[in-house]
Structures are given as structure tokens and as C-alpha cells.
């Protein structure tokens, strides 16, 4: 039964990664699409706390790093999403109380995650853009995630919460 629950979460992460590469390219703003995988990790952090979110972040990040058409150094998204999941999990008490705070948390997480990814790019000299351009990409990406969070977070929270009590019953 636990295997089935885990498989469901893996499937959700897969859908997020594929959707942002395949479906959202039609509505991208200068090529920037919403980071759905990051939203899923933040939702997991709100629902289950830092440890779970960090593990899920690692998995989602590795998928982002390895699934085509990714061509950057693998492990960069994994590192960014592990930290995002952990940090979001630490402040989840506020986000659980009000949906507004949850949306703000997604915005902050999106900023931290994309910035961390960009920073690792600068350190490794892997596909780094000029700073002004990088900031523009980060801002568009945060706006995208803020726009989708009010719709996605309640659904994801409902789903991930529902997976948990059943797991505890075993």
C-alpha cells in the first residue's frame, strides 16, 4: 500500500515535469514557464514538513536534471529543490493557517529555487547569462508560480493530505 502511495507522488512529479516542458511551452513568456515541480515540492513541504519535502525535492530535481531536453550539469535542480523543500518545511506552520500565506511561500520558494539554480550555474560556468538577464528570468518565473499557486496549492494539499492518513492507518 505504501508503495502505491509513493508511486502516486512519483507520478504527480512526472506529470509536473513533463507538463512544464511540453504543454506550457505554448504559453511561455520569452521561454520561461511555470516551475510546476517546485510548486509540488512546496505543497509537500506545507503538508508533511521539511524532511519529506527535501527527499521529494531531491527526486523531482533529479528528474528535472535528467529528463530530456535538460542539458545542464545534473544535480543542480536537485540541490536547489532539496534546499527549497527543507526551508519551506521549516516555515510551514504559517502557510498551513492561511491560503494567502501559502501562495506567498510559493513565490518566495520560487525566487530562492531559481536563484540557487542560477548561482550554481555561475559557480560552474554552466550556461550562465548576464546578471540583468538572469534577474529578468527569475522575476518572470516567480510571477508565473505566483499566478498558478492559488489554483494548484489547494488541489495538491488536498491530494497529499489525503495520501497521509491512509498511510498512518497501516
Amino acid at each position: 500500500m505504501t508503495g502505491l502511495k509513493d508511486a502516486t507522488l512519483v507520478a504527480v512529479v512526472c506529470v509536473a515535469v513533463i507538463a512544464q516542458a511540453v504543454v506550457f511551452r505554448f504559453v511561455s513568456v520569452d521561454g520561461v514557464v511555470p516551475n510546476l515541480a517546485l510548486v509540488v515540492v512546496v505543497a509537500a513541504a506545507i503538508s508533511r514538513g521539511p524532511q519529506f519535502a527535501a527527499v521529494l525535492g531531491f527526486g523531482a530535481g533529479m528528474l528535472l536534471d535528467l529528463a530530456p531536453p535538460a542539458d545542464h550539469v545534473a544535480g543542480r535542480w536537485a540541490l536547489a529543490l532539496v534546499l527549497v523543500g527543507y526551508l519551506a518545511g521549516l516555515v510551514r506552520q504559517d502557510a498551513r493557517k492561511s491560503p494567502f500565506m501559502a501562495v506567498v511561500l510559493v513565490g518566495a520558494a520560487s525566487f530562492v529555487g531559481t536563484s540557487l539554480f542560477a548561482l550554481s550555474g555561475f559557480v560552474l560556468d554552466d550556461g550562465a547569462l548576464p546578471v540583468a538577464e538572469t534577474l529578468r528570468v527569475i522575476v518572470i518565473s516567480v510571477l508565473w508560480d505566483l499566478m498558478l499557486a492559488p489554483f494548484l496549492i489547494p488541489v495538491l494539499l488536498w491530494g497529499i493530505d489525503r495520501l497521509q492518513p491512509l498511510r498512518m492507518a497501516h
Binding site: V32, P69, Y86, A128, L129
Partner: protein, 297 residues
């Protein structure tokens, strides 16, 4: 309580997990940063699973994406008419004033003719996924892979011009590095005077997607609107010769730099890539038809 049992736990344990995961990520980064990455088999294994899923999703969602065209408003169509009329009058002016262009055209024509005469074989493919720009690399996935005869370092082009090169293949998909990526370097040749140089991508797409051309001979000044084509390398790896890349938009030179920089506006529209052709060696056999001899031009 219920939550403590699974997610929260003692803060120590959760911190230990964080440490482990960060360490794991850093290990993966270190391993993959090498040129001969031990992660390549993992990458192609993931690609073999995710690639077909992306392909299926793209096929399922394509009709909805195409339907977007119906919702173009009357206003935007009117704008199009205004833009086109303006362009038309500009073109009319050019036709009457520039016999000089004919000379240019002849040179360019000769170059492009070599391309069609050498008879590249093409495999047609469609773009199914685009790498998000927040990953700061410009790549796309196409729906043809090694089973169609594709391999690393093959040239990818479309009706407008050069698109990029294949950097990775799985059985049914391939990853293409676009020429506007910051990692991409293409050898280019100016259409008028055959001077050679190197084109580097700037990493952004949309209207600001530009390439920088650095000429080898700094005594040469590229002229505006000059066409740049690929210079080609031995055996056509990674780029075959004579594929149009773009047009010179502006030229800058600073006393500090030894060579002149020209900004190139690529012919291909990278924000709306769909059908592309991959240049394959003659006699390639695969599960897809191979277009040969003047099919495209």
C-alpha cells in the same frame, strides 16, 4: 501525533537527511561536471522512459495548442495589416533603389546552391518539448531518435535556417542544442565576402534572441543586412556547410577588442519551432522516411 510520526520527527534527524541530500546533489554535480560523465547512461535511461511520455503528451495536446490561432482578435489582425503595408512600401523602395543587392544575391545564391547540390539527406521531425529558460540552457526535444538514424553532432535546420545540433539521442527522441544557447559556437561565413568567424549564442529567445559574430580577420567590416551561412567543418560534424543562419543587424567595434563584433538576427524563430529537419549521412536507413535531393529547396 500523526504528523510527528512521519514528516517532522526530531529536528536532528531531519537535519541529517538534509545534509545527506545536499551531499548527494553535490556528488552528482561533481560527477556530471566532467566531460566524460559517468551519468550519461542514467541520462539516456531516464530519456528512454520520459521521451515517449513527452511525445505522447505532445501528440495529445497539439490540437489544443493549434486552436489558439482561432482566438486571435480582429485587432491583432488589423495590426498585422498595418505592419505588412508598411513593410510592403519599404520593400518597394528597396526594389527600385538597389541593383547592388543583385550582386549580393548572386553570391548568396551560389552558396545556397552548393548546399542543395551536395544533396543533404534530411529526416523530418517535430519539436515536442522545450527546456525551460529558467534552466538557463536553450534546448528542445524532437520526436526522432537513434531508431531514425540520428546521432550526436548532427545539424538541425528548418525552412528558415539553422536551428542547432543534436547533443543527445534516445531510441525515439533527441535533444537539440539551439544555436542561441550560450554554450553553442558555430563557424559562420559572411555571404558577400566569404570572411569567416564564430557565432555565439546569447541564451535568450523571443525577440531578443541574438547571436554574436566575431570575425577572424579584424580588418573586415561586416555590412548591415549581410547574410551569414554556416562555414561547415570536416565531414559535416557538427555543422554542414552553407546553411543560412541569419542577417547582420548591427556592428560594434571597440578599440580594446582585437576583432569586430557583429550582432546577428537568426532567420529561425526559436519561440515557435515546430517542424525541423536533421541532416543525416547519405544512405541512412531508419524507421522514418529520409528526404533526399532538392526536396526542401
Amino acid at each position: 501525533m500523526a504528523r510527528r510520526g512521519y514528516g517532522g520527527g526530531p529536528a536532528d534527524k531531519s537535519r541529517r537527511v538534509l545534509g545527506l541530500l545536499v551531499l548527494a546533489s553535490l556528488t552528482v554535480i561533481t560527477l556530471d561536471a566532467r566531460t566524460d560523465s559517468p551519468l550519461d547512461p542514467v541520462r539516456s535511461a531516464v530519456g528512454a522512459v520520459v521521451g515517449p511520455l513527452e511525445d505522447a503528451t505532445a501528440t495529445a495536446t497539439r490540437p489544443f495548442a493549434d486552436a489558439g490561432g482561432f482566438f486571435r482578435t480582429n485587432k491583432s489582425l488589423r495590426n498585422d495589416i498595418a505592419t505588412l503595408s508598411a513593410e510592403n512600401s519599404r520593400l518597394r523602395g528597396q526594389v527600385s533603389t538597389e541593383p547592388l543587392d543583385r550582386q549580393r544575391l548572386a553570391a548568396l545564391d551560389a552558396l545556397t546552391r552548393t548546399a542543395s547540390e551536395t544533396g543533404y539527406s534530411l529526416v523530418a521531425a517535430r519539436v515536442i518539448a522545450m527546456g525551460p529558460v529558467q534552466s538557463f540552457t536553450r534546448t528542445v526535444t524532437i520526436d526522432a531518435g537513434s531508431s531514425a538514424g540520428l546521432a550526436k553532432d548532427m545539424t538541425v535546420l528548418n525552412n528558415d535556417g539553422l536551428v542547432g545540433r543534436v547533443v543527445q539521442t534516445t531510441r525515439s527522441t533527441a535533444t537539440v542544442l539551439l544555436i542561441i544557447d550560450t554554450d553553442s559556437v558555430v563557424g559562420g561565413r559572411l555571404g558577400t565576402n566569404a570572411e569567416i568567424g564564430f557565432l555565439r549564442g546569447r541564451g535568450s529567445i523571443g525577440d531578443s534572441g541574438r547571436l554574436d559574430l566575431e570575425l577572424v580577420d579584424n580588418a573586415v567590416t561586416p555590412s548591415r543586412d549581410d547574410v551569414v551561412v554556416t562555414w561547415g567543418s570536416k565531414n559535416g560534424v557538427p555543422y554542414v556547410a552553407g546553411i543560412p543562419i541569419g542577417r547582420v543587424e548591427s556592428v560594434t567595434s571597440s578599440p580594446r577588442q582585437s576583432s569586430r563584433l557583429a550582432v546577428i538576427r537568426p532567420f529561425a524563430d526559436f519561440s515557435a519551432l515546430d517542424v525541423v529537419g536533421v541532416v543525416v549521412p547519405k544512405g541512412t536507413r531508419g524507421d522514418r522516411p529520409v528526404i533526399t535531393e532538392g526536396g526542401a529547396r
